[in-house]
C-alpha cells in the first residue's frame, strides 16, 4: 500500500522551500512546530555528522509526556538517526559527531557527566527487526533486570509476568517460558522485545519502524499494544508507513533530507499540512 514511499525524490517534485531557520523555541513558527506544555524530551538545534556528511540539520522539537510522537519521512531522511540520538545509540557508530542538545527531563544527555547506561535504562528501545537474545523467553525479559543486579526469583517472576502481560504475550507463552525466544513467530518476537523494554520500567520507549518486518495482523496487534502503552510511557515511533502514523500518533514530525519540515498534531498535519513538501509527501506525490 505504500510501495511508492521508498522511492527517491522525483525530479518533478517542486524545489525545496528555504529551510526552516533553527530559531530559538520562542521564535518558532507555531504553524510548523507546536508549543508543547510538558515536554519530557527536548531536542534543541541538533546537528549530526557522519564524517563530513551532515545527516541532521539543526533539528528542534519537543516531545510531550505520555503521548505517541511519530517521525515520518522518506528513506534516508534521518528519522532513525534522530531517534537513535535520544538514547545515544549513535555513540557506537564510528565517525559520528553531534552538536546541539537533547534534554531529557531538563538535563542535556550529551553532558559528559551523564551515565549513559542509566540513561538507556530510562529510555528503552524497540528495533526495526526483532532482536531477541539467544536465550529463553523468560531470560529475555529478565535480562534488563539482571543487568541491574536484580536476581531474586520472586521479583523476577513477578516482573516477567507483568511485562509479558503488558506486551499482550503472556497467554501465548506462559507455558513455555523456558523455550528459546528464537523459536517464536516474528510478531511474537517483536512483542517480546517490547516486554523486554518495559520490564525495566523506562519513561520513554523508542520504536524504530517496529512493524516493518511484520504481516498486517501482527502489525495491528503491535499498534493496539502501543495505544495501551501510552497510558504509562512516552512513545516515540519512527515509521515509513503514513497510515500507521496517522492511526496511532498524537503528534507527527515530517523530516526530509535531514531537516525537520513540519511538526504538529497528527490530525492537523495529515488534513491540513502547512507546507507544500509535507502535503506532497503524505499524498504520495514523492516518497
Amino acid at each position: 500500500m505504500n510501495s511508492t514511499l521508498t522511492l527517491a525524490p522525483s525530479p518533478a517534485a517542486p524545489p525545496a522551500e528555504p529551510a526552516v531557520a533553527p530559531e530559538p523555541a520562542a521564535e518558532r513558527d507555531p504553524a510548523l512546530s507546536p508549543v508543547i506544555e510538558k515536554p519530557i524530551v527536548e531536542i534543541d538545534r541538533l546537528d549530526l555528522f557522519y564524517g563530513t556528511k551532515q545527516a541532521l540539520k539543526s533539528i528542534s522539537l519537543a516531545i510531550p509526556e505520555k503521548q505517541i510522537t511519530a517521525f515520518i519521512g522518506p528513506s534516508g531522511c534521518g528519522k532513525s538517526t534522530l531517534l537513535r540520538c535520544i538514547n545515544r545509540l549513535n555513540d557506537l557508530v564510528d565517525g559520528v559527531r553531534i552538536e546541539g542538545q537533547i534534554r531529557f527531563e531538563g538535563r542535556n544527555i550529551f553532558d559528559p557527566k551523564v551515565d549513559i547506561n542509566a540513561l538507556r535504562k530510562r529510555i528503552g528501545m524497540v528495533f526495526q527487526k526483532s532482536n531477541p537474545f539467544p536465550k529463553s523467553i523468560y531470560e529475555n525479559v529478565a535480562y534488563g533486570l539482571r543487568i541491574q543486579g536484580i536476581n531474586k526469583k520472586g521479583t523476577l517472576d513477578e516482573i516477567v509476568e507483568k511485562s509479558l502481560k503488558g506486551a499482550a504475550l503472556w497467554d501465548e507463552v506462559k507455558d513455555r517460558l523456558d523455550d528459546s525466544a528464537l523459536g517464536m513467530s516474528g510478531g511474537q518476537q517483536q512483542r517480546l522485545c517490547i516486554a523486554r523494554a518495559i520490564a525495566v520500567e523506562p519513561e520513554v520507549i523508542l520504536f524504530d519502524e517496529p512493524c516493518s518486518a511484520l504481516d498486517p495482523i501482527a502489525t495491528a496487534k503491535i499498534e493496539e499494544l502501543m495505544e495501551d502503552l501510552k497510558k504509562d510511557f512516552t512513545l516515540v515511533v519512527v515509521t515509513h508507513n503514513m497510515q500507521q502514523a496517522s492511526r496511532i500518533s498524537d503528534l507527527t514530525a515530517f523530516l526530509y533530507l535531514g531537516e525537520l519540515i513540519e511538526y504538529g498534531p497528527t490530525k492537523k498535519l495529515f488534513i491540513k499540512p502547512a507546507k507544500k513538501q509535507t502535503e506532497d509527501y503524505i499524498t504520495g506525490r514523492f516518497g
Partner: protein, 542 residues
C-alpha cells in the same frame, strides 16, 4: 540462438556437474578406503588362527600360524611360499620363518597343539608334556591340562599380588627415600646454624634408616613371592622335539586354537582387545596393551583444550569486539592465519626453548633446587607438550571464535546496550553465549589437530615408554612434569623402531584404528555439547 549452440551449452553444464560429482565420489572413496584398510588390518590383529604343523622334505617339523602367503617370482622357481609365525624366540631366535610350499610334504592341524602367551619371550608354540615343581612331577598325560588350569589361576592371582606390592608398598617406600634424600640436599642448600643442622641431619638419617629397613623387608617379601611364582614349571615340547621349562607364573594364557570354535575364538579375540586397550605394554611395546598411550593422548588433548580456549577466545574477543578495526588489526589477523601454517616441528622447537628450558628451568631453580641437576620441570613433560600444542592450535580457535562473534547480529548487541547494559555485560551475557557453538567448532578442529600431532611432541615430553601415568594415587595426584606416551608416536615406534618388526606390523594398524577411535570419541563429546548449545539457542544464526 541456434539450437546446436544451446545443446552444446547444456552439455557443458552437465559435464561440469558430472565432474564435480566425480571429484566428490573420488574423495569419499579414498576416505572410505583408508578407513576400510585400517579397520581390516587393525581389526584382525587379535584374531587367533589355527595352528598348522608342517613336515618339510628335509625332515624338519614346524608348528605355527600362517601369517602371510605370497607368490615366488618365476625367476626364483615360481610356486608360493608361506610366512609362518613359529614363535619360540628363546629357542630359535626369530618369530617368523619363510617356507617354500614345494618343500611341505605333510600338513595337519593337531588338536593338542598349544600356544602359550608369555610375559617374556613372546609366544611358545608346541605341546604340553609335564607339570613340575622342582624335580618332582605334579602331573602329566591326560590330567595335565586340568591340573595346569587350576594352578595357572592361582599363579595369576599371585602375579597380581607381586605387581601390587611393587607398585604399592615398594613404590611408596622408594618415594619416601627419594624425598628424604631431597630433604637432605635442601638442608645443605639452606645451610642453617651448625647445631640445628646436626639435629635435623640426625633426624633425617634416622628416618632414612627406618625406611631403608622397611625397604629391605619388603624386598625380601617380594623375593619370596617371586620365587613362589616361579616354583612350578611347565615342560613344553617345541615342534622339533626340544623341551623347554616355562614357569607357570610367566604364562599369560594357554590356548588350544585348533579346538576352539568360532565362539571360543571370538571370546579370545575380545579378551585380547580388552588387554590391548587396558593393559601396560611389554617387551618394548611389541606386546601387552597401550593403555598409557591412550591415557596420555586424552589427557594431553584435555590439558591443551583448557589452555587453548581462554587464550584463543580472549584474543578473538579483543580483535573483534574491542580493537579499532584498521590496517593494524587486519595485519594481526593475517599473521594469526599464517601462524596456522607454520610447520609443527617449529612449534616443538619453540616449546623446547621457551617452555622447557626457560620457564621450566626457572621453575626448577626457584622451587626445586634440591633436585638439581636432575630437572623436574626443566625437561619435557605433559604440561609443556599441552602448552606447545595450544600455541599450535590457537589460530584455529581464534579464527572460529571470530567467525562466531561476527555472526552475532549488530542489532542483538544494540538491543542489549539499549537496555542499559555496558559493552562488557553485552559481550559476556549475549554475544559470547551466542558465539559458543562457533567457539566449540574451533575447539573440535583444534583437538583433532592436537591428537594427531606427533613431531613437536617428540622434543617436549613424549616418550616411547613411560613408567608411570601422569595421574596416580600419589599426592598431588596430577603430575604435570611427567613424561607421557602418545598413540601417534606409538604407531611410529612399533612400526619402525621395533626390534621385532614382523610381529608388530599388525599393531601399527590396530593402534592407528584406536587413534582414530579416540579422536572420534573426543570429537563426538564436543559435538554433542555443541548440539546441545545450538538447541538451547535454536534458530540462532551461528
Amino acid at each position: 540462438m541456434a539450437p546446436s549452440s544451446h545443446a552444446r551449452r547444456e552439455l557443458l553444464g552437465l559435464s561440469f556437474t558430472a565432474l564435480c560429482g566425480g571429484a566428490l565420489a573420488l574423495d569419499l572413496l579414498l576416505i572410505l578406503g583408508l578407513l576400510g584398510l585400517i579397520g581390516y588390518y587393525g581389526g584382525r590383529t587379535f584374531w587367533q588362527q589355527n595352528l598348522v604343523e608342517l613336515e618339510l622334505a628335509d625332515g624338519r617339523k614346524l608348528l605355527g600360524e600362517v601369517h602371510r602367503r605370497e607368490a615366488v617370482p618365476a625367476a626364483q622357481g615360481g610356486g608360493s611360499r608361506l610366512q609362518l609365525r613359529v614363535g619360540n624366540r628363546d629357542l630359535s631366535g626369530a618369530d617368523f620363518l619363510w617356507v617354500d610350499e614345494k618343500d611341505v610334504v605333510r600338513r595337519c592341524e593337531p588338536a593338542d597343539a598349544v600356544l602359550l602367551e608369555r610375559l617374556e619371550w613372546g609366544g611358545f608354540y608346541g605341546r604340553l608334556i609335564e607339570l613340575k615343581k622342582g624335580e618332582q612331577s605334579l602331573a602329566s598325560g591326560p590330567g595335565l591340562e586340568a591340573a595346569f588350569e587350576r594352578l595357572h589361576e592361582q599363579k595369576l592371582a599371585e602375579g597380581e599380588e607381586v605387581r601390587r606390592l611393587e607398585k604399592g608398598a615398594i613404590g611408596r617406600v622408594n618415594r619416601a627415600l627419594e624425598e628424604l634424600r631431597l630433604a637432605g640436599k635442601r638442608l645443605e642448600l639452606e645451610a642453617p646454624p651448625a647445631a640445628e643442622r646436626a639435629r635435623r641431619q640426625a633426624e633425617l638419617e634416622g628416618r632414612t634408616a627406618e625406611k631403608q629397613a622397611e625397604y629391605e623387608q619388603l624386598a625380601s617379601e617380594l623375593g619370596a613371592l617371586r620365587e613362589k611364582l616361579s616354583a612350578e614349571t611347565l615342560v613344553a615340547e617345541a615342534a622339533d622335539g626340544t623341551h623347554k621349562e616355562i614357569p607357570v607364573g610367566a604364562v599369560v594364557r594357554a590356548i588350544y586354537p585348533n579346538r576352539l570354535g568360532t565362539a571360543g575364538k571370538l571370546g579370545l579375540y575380545l579378551s585380547r582387545v580388552w588387554e590391548f586397550v587396558s593393559g601396560d605394554p611389554r617387551e618394548s611395546n611389541t606386546e601387552g596393551g597401550i593403555f598409557p598411550a591412550i591415557f596420555g593422548t586424552v589427557m594431553m588433548v584435555f590439558l591443551m583444550s583448557i589452555a587453548v580456549v581462554p587464550l584463543g577466545v580472549l584474543a578473538a574477543l579483543y580483535l573483534r569486539e574491542y580493537a579499532k578495526q584498521g590496517p593494524l588489526v587486519r595485519m594481526v589477523r593475517i599473521a594469526v592465519n599464517n601462524l596456522a601454517g607454520v610447520p609443527s616441528i617449529v612449534f616443538g622447537v619453540f616449546g623446547l626453548g621457551f617452555f622447557v628450558y626457560t620457564v621450566g628451568g626457572t621453575l626448577d631453580r626457584l622451587f626445586f633446587p634440591e633436585a638439581l641437576p636432575t630437572p623436574t620441570f626443566g625437561t619435557g613433560g605433559i604440561l609443556w607438550a599441552a602448552l606447545t600444542l595450544a600455541l599450535l592450535t590457537v589460530p584455529v580457535v581464534i579464527v572460529a571464535t571470530e567467525e562466531g562473534l561476527a555472526a552475532v547480529p549488530r542489532i542483538v548487541r544494540e538491543g542489549s546496550l539499549a537496555l542499559g547494559a555496558t559493552q562488557f555485560e553485552t559481550t559476556f551475557r549475549v554475544v559470547l553465549p551466542a558465539a559458543a557453538p562457533g567457539i566449540l567448532t574451533g575447539l573440535i578442529l583444534a583437538m583433532a589437530r592436537a591428537a594427531g600431532e606427533v613431531a613437536p611432541l617428540m622434543i617436549v615430553g613424549m616418550v616411547k615408554l613411560a613408567p608411570t601415568l601422569p595421574v596416580d594415587t600419589q599426592a598431588p595426584f596430577v603430575h604435570f612434569e611427567r613424561k607421557f606416551m602418545h598413540l601417534g608416536f606409538h604407531i611410529y615406534d612399533v612400526g619402525f623402531q621395533s626390534p621385532n618388526v614382523d610381529a608388530t606390523k599388525p599393531l601399527v594398524f590396530t593402534t592407528a584404528l584406536l587413534l582414530i577411535a579416540v579422536v572420534t570419541a573426543i570429537n563426538l563429546v564436543a559435538i554433542s555439547i555443541r548440539n546441545r548449545l545450538r538447541k538451547r539457542y535454536a534458530g540462532s544464526a551461528v
